[in-house]
Symmetry: C2
Subunit: 207 residues, 2 copies
């Protein structure tokens, strides 16, 4: 089996899980730590060399403070538990902000724990604008495609589930719909189905 | 119905379509023009305000020249046909390269054709590195996440089909796998299924 070297993890659905269980939204986050450790051990066994884990984003910190405190606490706990494993650990995100937990500052330079091993990039108070050096929420005026606005829906024909370098900045929040048919077999029905699916998705813009 | 304002189009599968029909790979491209016009009219009727169409990339130009000539010709023809419609048309991509077709230089400033209308961004000799001002194929040393390498596979829990700002540069070529279960219901089986799916995908890195 072809094993990916580097796996990115977006651990979404904590709040919806909590609501479904009759709990408060913020109660979902602490239930995300143990799955994270299970994931780590699964990837370790499979021989995966690097993992990037989406802890929380600068966008997420605009949520009610009871949620913010809960996911921050869960991320701090997760990093501490990971530091007791064999791993090469880096916490990465915008540290020039009060939203970055001080307890994690010692982890913002990559360090080996235990015997070292899997590279783990744990994203904390991360934002794509920060990452790219762009201004807050703006399509960057320095982009080659400065005149192209944010894309709401990407439709790809031919069955592959990847962006292949398509407008990375404009697509950060896009919903992604894949048509299995090849492009020359285009039918208006494909677009209608894509939009019908899109209209059932929520709009969060990372919030 | 909630209609997206801006739709991105990745019209993939022309070569696989041609092979399936017993044709040469390059014969697929000219069969992509008429679907493009059908798409344009479908989106026009639906009231979509902006469309970005992935014509060809700088990566694509590394293919055999018979293919390169065929997709270049198809893109030039598509832009000319679009310029006979009501549209606000922009061709955007790296014009500082012999791979950019000279016939399309007049379209690299946005212009209204007919009565104007839908904004169309037609990507020609586009590359994400060019767009972001990064060096060829390199993860940019100026990124906040310069120490994070290219991601091969993104796994998202919770059913949503979007990146939500996750590592846009490292994810340009990532395969994207969505688990419908919420994150707290994580099971190692999810990862195993994701990797089994991943190992059946080809690796093109945009080529």
């Amino acid at each position: 089996m072809r094993i990916p070297e580097h796996v990115g993890i977006i651990p979404d659905g904590n709040r919806r899980w909590a609501l479904q269980k009759g709990l408060n939204k913020e109660d979902g986050y602490e239930r995300g730590i143990s799955p994270g450790m299970s994931l780590f051990h699964t990837c370790q066994k499979l021989g995966i060399k690097e993992m990037s884990f989406y802890g929380f984003t600068a966008d997420n910190t605009k949520r009610p403070s009871v949620q913010r405190l809960a996911f921050t606490k869960a991320c701090v706990a997760a990093v501490k538990v990971l530091s007791e494993e064999n791993a090469s650990l880096l916490v990465v995100g915008n540290t020039d902000s009060a939203m970055f937990p001080k307890e994690l500052l010692p982890y913002t330079t990559r360090r080996d724990f235990g015997k070292g091993g899997m590279k783990i990039n744990f994203l904390v108070n991360y934002s794509w604008e920060w990452d790219l050096g762009l201004k807050n929420g703006m399509i960057g005026p320095k982009l080659g495609t400065a005149d192209v606005s944010r894309v709401d829906l990407v439709i790809r024909w031919g069955g592959r589930r990847r962006l292949s370098g398509f407008l990375p900045v404009q697509s950060v929040y896009s919903d992604f719909y894949v048509v299995d048919d090849y492009w020359p077999d285009f039918s208006p029905r494909h677009v209608e189905e894509a939009i019908s699916w899109y209209s059932r998705q929520d709009v969060t813009l990372g919030g």
